[in-house]
Symmetry: D2
Subunit: 457 residues, 4 copies
């Protein structure tokens, strides 16, 4: 026998974080395992909680838990046979988190049950909630996703798809969402396409909707295509169909998916994440105007850009910092040791590679700058003669309102300091951010797809 626990302090709701979502349509006994494997490939998108819901049209099995999937499903894994399943992993950098918020969210409503997995942020949530409460709606979580359930329950429409279109017209913000009913699996991407969502085929009659293409690989599905901004994909016993519900005003996909968030083996909106990251490193090398001896990445986030930088600059790429793979979520730094952070346990220098060298240190971004400062100091203590920091994205000057949690503005070092001041803080010999134009040149494609650069403005 095991023990479950729910512990919540309800407090003013907070923004929906970045997450990973998956939906699988594959009638048979293996539906639970397919959903599990696909979701496991999206684990990097969220480690705070995980959930899976399966339906055979009549019953729903829902298993949820806090933590990594191996923790959340330790005591119980979904096993029911059915035709459809959806899964969700949630990411949060904030302390507070609530069991009741674990997705997929479930509700019985007038047309049967709904199960929802949502990646994004509803920006008019406060307005929607107030108006839904006036109409008699109840909210049992602090998640903005619950507003969508209430909207679907409260509004009317002739047929599910019409109905959803009507509801989405009231929702503002960023969302890639997957909705499961008794006989339908529906993937929706907001009109700006902030967050990714793609669809693939396992075999005829079996489909997968997922945040990233790496989840398709995990279930041996072939990528059909990304869902377009303002489009929905509908999977049922009759197969897969698409439907546009809004004119894409302006494609604004989040550049941080390419810079940091997505897995390098994924292809988003037609672009290889690895390839993009490598090109950003090459571009950074072109913009770099200093001399140096070696290039070393901050593992793991700076590795691919550092390889691009090395290729474009001709400087040799070496491993200068080794990561302790066991320092994870559950590692707790002892209290009695007078040390401020876990950085020194996570990374350890390879002195033989750094001693006497002029080092270019590559990372993908700088948020608060505290970790970077520590790493620079570690590299210096290991004997580096010079440390030049190169960052494969522009300075982040604005928090994100669309789902990547870059917290509040005053924690962003580039929001409160100039580049020379940051250089000073980090203790580097020089500091080089990728230019905004350099980023755009490498990210935007000829077909006029655009990226959201709000956090750099």
């Amino acid at each position: 026998m095991t023990n479950s626990e729910l512990a919540v302090r309800y407090s003013p709701h907070r923004r929906q974080e970045a997450c990973g979502v998956i939906g699988v349509w594959a009638p048979g006994p293996q539906i639970a395992d397919l959903c599990y494997l696909g979701l496991f490939s999206l684990q990097h998108r969220g480690q705070e909680s995980a959930g899976i819901a399966i339906t055979d049209g009549l019953h729903i099995e829902e298993v949820k838990g806090m933590g990594l999937m191996t923790e959340a499903f330790r005591e119980r894994r979904p096993t029911m046979a059915g035709h459809a399943a959806i899964g969700h992993v949630r990411y949060s950098t904030q302390g507070a988190s609530a069991y009741c918020n674990i997705q997929p969210l479930f509700a019985y409503a007038k047309n049967g049950f709904l199960s929802l997995a949502h990646n994004g942020t509803i920006t008019n949530f406060d307005y929607l909630r107030a108006s839904l409460e006036r109409e008699g709606g109840i909210f049992r979580t602090t998640s903005d996703s619950e507003a969508i359930l209430n909207l679907l329950a409260m509004s009317n429409g002739s047929g599910l798809e019409e109905h959803i279109v009507k509801v989405l017209n009231r929702v503002e913000g960023a969302y890639s969402l997957i909705l499961m009913t008794s006989d339908r699996l529906i993937g929706v991407r907001d009109p700006q396409g902030y967050r990714p969502l793609c669809v693939g085929q396992i075999k005829p009659g079996q489909y997968v909707l997922a945040s990233e293409s790496c989840a398709l690989d995990a279930v041996k599905a072939t990528l059909i295509r990304d869902i377009n901004p303002g489009e929905m994909a509908i999977v049922s016993h009759e197969g897969l169909s698409f439907r546009r519900f809004s004119q894409a005003t302006r494609h604004s996909s989040c550049v941080f998916e390419y810079i940091y968030f997505a897995r390098p083996d994924s292809v988003l909106d037609g672009q290889s994440v690895w390839g993009t990251r490598f090109r950003l490193g090459q571009q950074l090398a072109k913009e770099f105007d200093q001399s140096a001896d070696i290039v070393i990445p901050v593992p793991d986030t700076g590795i691919t850009a550092a390889l691009g930088f090395s290729q474009a600059s001709g400087l040799p790429y070496l491993e200068g910092l080794i990561k302790n793979r066991y320092v994870g979520r559950s590692f707790i730094m002892p209290q009695q040791i007078s040390r401020e952070s876990t950085v020194e346990m996570k990374l350890n220098p390879v002195r033989a590679n750094l001693e006497g060298q002029r080092v270019v240190l590559i990372d993908d971004s700088i948020v608060r700058g505290t970790t970077s400062a520590r790493i620079v100091s570690m590299v210096r203590r290991a004997g580096a003669k010079e440390v030049r920091m190169c960052v494969s994205s522009p300075p982040i000057t604005q928090p994100c309102y669309y789902g990547i949690d870059t917290s509040i503005r005053r924690e962003l070092i580039a929001a409160i300091k100039t580049v020379p001041q940051i250089k000073e803080s980090l203790g580097v010999d020089s500091l080089h951010y990728l230019s905004k134009q350099g980023l755009l040149d490498q990210i935007n494609d000829p077909e006029n797809r655009r990226s959201c650069l709000a956090c750099f403005d």
Copy 2:
């Protein structure tokens, strides 16, 4: 770090089981502990799950879990300071049970939050739910109590109390419920008064609502009185007040509270449970027309009635069966042993007291009869010359629709067999049920309070 888990198979909802509820109004840091202790005294009313919610008007802390309170709150106990708290323990004899159903149920609605603890069964739940869903309501649990949350969210009323009255007019069935809002604690008892609910005072300005008076003792509160059928008690910063919302059509409190369910140290509707149980034993002795040597109870349920029987009959009371106190919820009978039940591990005879004796065996009720048959056989193997079974309640011929889970009709031995047939099944020398009139004589009081006898009809 701990792990939480939610695992649900949603399926057609089932009746609300018997439960224990408590509400405490005691502003200060000790509110969590008072609620915990009071609820602990009601643990006998439910061992399937437990939950506590506390509010300081702005925040709500909610901690819930499966199992006994020591299990449900093992990893986390409620601790928040506040002015009010409610708690709930749930009982179920059925296998299925769901994390999402653990009470108190919580919701944000148009007038702020609501937290609900419910003991009883809403008999028109299917109708209410269908009509609420039509109006746009969503149901996220399989519990009938959620209908009350939706009713409160959907209907309108000038002021909370009017509002509740309006809602209760639509609800049919048995309910003792406690509702917590940001500034109010409200206890309500249905117009028939099926399930108990009383109110006590800790000190001026501090009140407790609870299923049984033993919970008042646990927090050193003094019993003020039982809430009347069709009445509500309102506690706020202004103190305690009562309000009648319905004319009591007919008081019909459940006799099984006296026979079996409540703790013997509780006083319900003015009657000592211990005293009632003792009188039922005396009455049973009066109706018993056989000769015998000794009286022995089936522990623990038959002890008090057996003492009454002994007193009235003059036959000596002895312990003939010893209970192994460690055979509880978590004891699992080994599979490889060819034994059909855990009765032999729970009870063991005192051979010295039984050998050669003509034994009167007292129990409070017979449901399926399987356990009784096993006990009788155990008493015979220990050397009893004669076994006469005496039951301190009439034969249960109908399942209960108001909250005590006596399961489906075909499992009730008295629903499908005559008394002589039951005597045969149990293997006793004679079988004596308390007469319905005998029960009424001992339970009903001069003030015309009536009991629900539906399960004996």
Copy 3:
């Protein structure tokens, strides 16, 4: 996957506590379950830890854990098929306890493996250990039982039984021990017979050794007889045989087995525990010289004696205190409540039975007196007019050196106060201990068996 933990602070060893031991010889697949059930019936003898070891002659499966059996075996239960098994539950009232000390203790030694379950205290342990260490022995636990393993490994003898006899000649103190080798199960009782040990038969060729006869009942075995002081019982594929290894100098069985420790349904050395306890109550009534209205027991320990008291005195027996069955090992009293103990949560008065009454309160013994004082005060608050405390054993003035942990002398109220002073402390109207002669008259039998009364001297 589960997590195991070993956490020890090795510190000067402490006395062996009272425990329950079992050995089963029953070749087949059900050996694990038989041992489990038998041990479960001895759970009252120890709740700190539990362990079972099984052998098929070649392999040994050993499963151990802290806590009640349901906790210790929650994650894993013994399952191996074999011909013999031994089990042990350990009792401790002291805080410190160590994983490595959980019995059965296991060792490979020159003649194959040994597995040992021990109930008792080796009084010359310090001497034995020092001399064994000088000979090269290592001690990996803080348990005195490990000395027996080392003695067996270090000494020589022609044949196992000779060998054991030789070893026992060096051991002083109280012990009932069960030893398992690859082909033998041996039960030994020390020459004074301080602790109980009996043997029963399941069917031809299947035997059980156990601390109490209730464990035989649990596996449907028939009691053959108690092992005599200074005797060993040997079970092998050739059946059961007995061998005397010492002249019983003086039978000195512990009276607390009868007064408190053993289960009432057990028969020890030919005497029913229930019957003895009942007679002690009768004797107490004879010695009681006051008038009163009712007799109430302190549950559960005083129940049987109170029934005897009631029978002999003619005063009616009532339940005046109700025990909350859920307040167990894992109940933790909230910190913020200004209350000194858990007594008020464990027991609650039945006011209707106590109000205005002159009450005789029966308990089996008084150790520190703090709990008794609290109970007396509770009974008075519930309205009792007079409280007269009657104790079915003499004052305990000495700590026990033979296994019942009555702690250190200064904690024993009767060691530091006179009876009038204790009466004062408890706040009773009168206080009556059973006389030592009264105890002896009821316990000793005509065949000259004697009891150890060291703790009353």
Copy 4:
């Protein structure tokens, strides 16, 4: 409250596995944390179990558990203040494992207590154990390390160091061991120096003994030097001293420490592990006689050698396989999916980098060959035109008797197949092992240090 469990099936003992050991001498309250952090840096040397023992001369605190350190110490972490501590992590590729075997092993013996952490294999264990048992020794684990405890307890010597020397003269095999007594911390390395062991200084009077220098970095200690083969290092309140106990017959350090086992940021016997691995890659490139387009490593084990290969060959280094960092010990592949292994979940190809390329795939070694075959097939499915496998060590043809568990001979692909047959099995276009001479050229140093190459012969 937590639950501990011990579950063992004792069966014929098995070889001591490779492990990580640490000893810290640093009087004060932070001793527990220093030992914890140092041991955490050795987590890659063992994930099966972990343990730490601390002493203040009088008391010992020992905390042990199964699994990773975050699991083993989840419920309890060592905290005692003291002057010395030792720690151990154990590695095993075999299923069976026993709680009682978790190190450090502890015993009280004639000269006080001993606590032992051992990395290595005692090859004459069977002989030692039989002879120790004859002398009266008892074995309570199945670990060969326990023989050392018994030897120390049984033999005599004038002073601890003499004593240890005498004991080690009877022990054959590979061992790096750390021994803690009440006032001494002793590190010993066998006369061949199979397994590494070094010593560093935190500050004057504070020393660390550890398997690898990366553990010194974790506690901010400076490497003093490696302990020489046949030498012991003694730490006490008087400081650090060394003592040779055997003439080093022939230094034979295990090459797999460099090839695979040690962390790349460690320096062993004066050589940087990263540097050695990089040179092996360079040497491999020199021996490679084919043309190709790109070099890709099997992550993480092939990365450093692949960088060396790229540098020496001029072929570009790309990431072609992305590792899912969440597929760890606790990931369990679903049963219903018709897939044979977890390789496809662990690694996913970057199609953009592989499509149409002639790929050199670098790994550090091939054991059974099954994983390699799967990876090759994955690379081909992702579009590679050619796959040439290069291995930075020679074929492993013999299991290891000194502590690295390469299992039994018939599982080693190179023990039963020729290189052309292996090439066939893996499905590669060509297969290149590093030559034995090439390995020796890069590993052995001018000072005549030699390596153990037994597994390649």
